[in-house]
Amino acid sequence: MKGNDWLTPEGTRDLLFEECAAKRTLEERITGIFESYGYSEVITPGIEFYDVFNGKTRHFPPETMYKLVDGKNRLMVLRPDTTMPIARLCATRLRREELPLKLFYNQSVFMVNPKDSGRDDEFEQSGIEIIGGENEDSDYEALFLAAKTLGECDKDYRLEIGDSGIFREILSKINCMDGDFVEKVRIGIETKNYPAIDFALEELDDSEAKVSLKMLARLFGGFEVFDEARKYLCGELLEEKLSRLERLCSELSEIVPKEKIRVDLGLANKKNYYTGIIFKGYVEGYGQPVLSGGRYDSLIGEFGGNDAKAVGFAVNIEAAAKVYLKNKGKSLTKTADVLVFSKNKIEALKHCEKLISEGLIVRNFNGECCVCAEKFAKSHGIKRLDIVNENCEVEVREV
C-alpha cells in the first residue's frame, strides 16, 4: 500500500515562490507598522497546555484543536490562537512589567477545519496586544492600526466596529437567564438568522428588551446606524455605550476614510472574553473576515495575573496574502541579473561575490558546458551571462 510520504496533511500546503514572496511582503509591511509604533515582538511556543484555551470565558471548541500528549500524558494543543498565550505571559513573566505593554507577534496558528472545507488548518497570524492603561483610550490606537494593517492587504477594505457589551446589557434586562435560551438568541444574532431570532423570542413577553434583541442583528451599516439604534435600544447604560461607540467612530474618521468604517451592533461573539469593543476587517475576494479583535479587560486576571485592561487584534496573513497576490499585477519574485559560468568553480564564486557587492542578484551555474549555461539563462529570463576563463578574465555576454 502506498504510504502518506508524498502528501501534505489536509488543510496544509507547501508555499512556493510567489506565494512566499506575497506572504513575506505583507508580513514585513505589517510588522513594520507595529515596529514603527514601538511595539515589541514576542514568540510563544507552538505547543501549549490544553488548559490555556479552556477556561471560564475561553471557549475554544475541543474538536477544533490539534491535540497531543506530553511525556507525562498531559493534554497539549497546537496553539489555536496567540491572545491566550500572551494573556498567560502577561500574568506570569511580564506581571511586574510597567504597563502599558505594547506587544506584537507573527506566528502560525492551527485549527481543525471540517473535512474537505478547503480552509487552511495552519495559517500565519500577525497581531498586536495593548496591555494596561487607565481607561479604554487604547481602543483608538488598536482601531487605527487595524485600519492601517487592512490598508496594506487591500485598498478596498472595511473595518467594522461593534460593542460586545450591548448584547449583554440588553440580556440583563430580561429576567430569563436560561443558558440554552441565551445561547439560541446569541447564535441567531451572530449568524443574522432572522427567522431563528424571531422564533426564539416568541416565548418572551413583549418588552422593550425583546424589541431590542429582535432589531440588534439588523443594526449594521454606516454611521446612520446609531440614529436608527436609538429607536430600539433604550436605557441609560445602552445610550452610554452607543454614544461612546459613535464618538469613537466619528473621531476615528478623521484619520481613517469614513467610508471604510462600518458599524455592526449585532456582533455577539462566542469568544465571550471580549468585554468592550469588538471589530472585524473585510477585504474583497475572501469570504471570511481577515482581521478580528477586541477588548478583553478580565482575561489576564483569569490567568491569575493582575487585572489589566487590554485590547488587541490579529490579521490572517495567509488569507491577506492570497488576496494580495490576486490583486498584484506584476511579479513578486526576483530573477537573477547575471548568470555566472566558469570551469573553475572557486573563480566563479569569487566573481559572484564581486557582483553581489555591486548590488546585483547572481545565479552560479553548476555545470561544465558553456552552451548549456547560455541555454539556461535564456529559459530563465536572465539577461546577462558572465564567463570567467582559465586566466580569470571575464567575458560579459548579453543573452
Binding site: R158, T191, K192, N193, P195, F220, Y282, G287, P289
Partner: protein, 210 residues
C-alpha cells in the same frame, strides 16, 4: 453608475423553480433562467445579477467561500451541513418537515435497548436525539430510507416528510416531528458588509414579494 455585481446560487430543481417565480414577481427579466438549456451560469440583464445553479449542499459551500453572495437552499440542508453564513430570510416555499417514523403500531421509545435509526441526515438525527439525551445507533442510508425498518435494519427512520404518502404506502407512520423545513435565503458574511446596499435592496424586494 453600474450596479455592483451580485451572484446568487439557487438549489437546482423544485427550489430553483419557485425561486425563479419569485424573481419574476419582483420584476426581474428571467428569460435567461427559463431558457437555460444545460448552462449553469445565467444572467438577469440590466440588474448585473448572475444566477448559478448547484446542488443544495454546494449552494452553502459557494456562499460560505464568498464566491456567491446570496443563496437559496432548504433548511434541511442547512441543518445537516451547517456552516458560517447569515440566514436572513425564511422564503416560505418548499415547506415540509423532518420526522421520526416507525412501522405502524410500533412503540419507538419502549424498553431499554439502544434503538437503531436509519437516515439520510445523520447530523440532524444525532442532534435531535442528543438534545433528548437518548442514545441511538445511526445508520446512514443513501436513498429510500423507508426500506430500512421494513427489512429489519433499523427501529425507525428520520426523514423528510411532505405529504406522508410514501410512509403510508410502506406501512410506516410518523411518531414525532423533528423540525419544520422550508427554503431559506442565505448570505455570505463578508458580501453583506461590502455590498450592503445592493444586497439589502434585493433582499427587501424578495421579502416584499413573498
Amino acid at each position: 453608475m453600474e450596479k455592483k455585481k451580485i451572484r446568487i446560487a439557487l438549489t437546482k430543481g423544485r427550489i430553483e423553480n419557485k425561486a425563479v417565480d419569485l424573481l419574476k414577481k419582483i420584476g426581474y427579466d428571467v428569460t435567461d433562467l427559463l431558457e437555460k438549456g444545460r448552462r449553469l451560469i445565467l444572467t438577469i440583464p440590466n440588474e448585473n445579477i448572475e444566477v448559478v445553479l448547484a446542488k443544495a449542499a454546494d449552494v452553502i459551500t459557494y456562499v460560505e467561500h464568498g464566491v456567491c453572495d446570496l443563496g437559496v437552499v432548504g433548511k434541511d440542508t442547512i441543518m445537516e451541513h451547517g456552516g458560517k453564513f447569515y440566514e436572513i430570510a425564511d422564503l416560505g416555499f418548499g415547506r415540509c418537515k423532518f420526522a421520526l417514523a416507525v412501522k405502524k403500531g410500533n412503540d419507538f421509545y419502549c424498553g431499554y435497548g439502544v434503538k437503531t435509526v436509519a437516515t439520510k441526515y445523520p447530523e440532524v438525527t444525532r442532534n435531535f436525539f442528543e438534545n433528548k439525551g437518548i442514545d441511538v445507533d445511526i445508520v446512514k442510508i443513501e436513498g429510500s430510507v423507508e426500506l430500512a425498518p421494513l427489512v429489519g435494519l433499523s427501529d425507525g427512520i428520520v426523514d423528510i416528510v411532505e405529504t406522508g404518502t410514501t410512509l403510508k404506502e410502506n406501512g410506516l407512520e410518523v411518531v414525532e416531528d423533528v423540525a419544520p423545513v422550508s427554503a431559506r435565503l442565505i448570505a455570505n458574511t463578508v458580501s453583506i458588509k461590502l455590498k450592503q446596499e445592493r444586497i439589502l435592496e434585493i433582499v427587501n424586494l424578495i421579502k416584499e414579494n413573498l
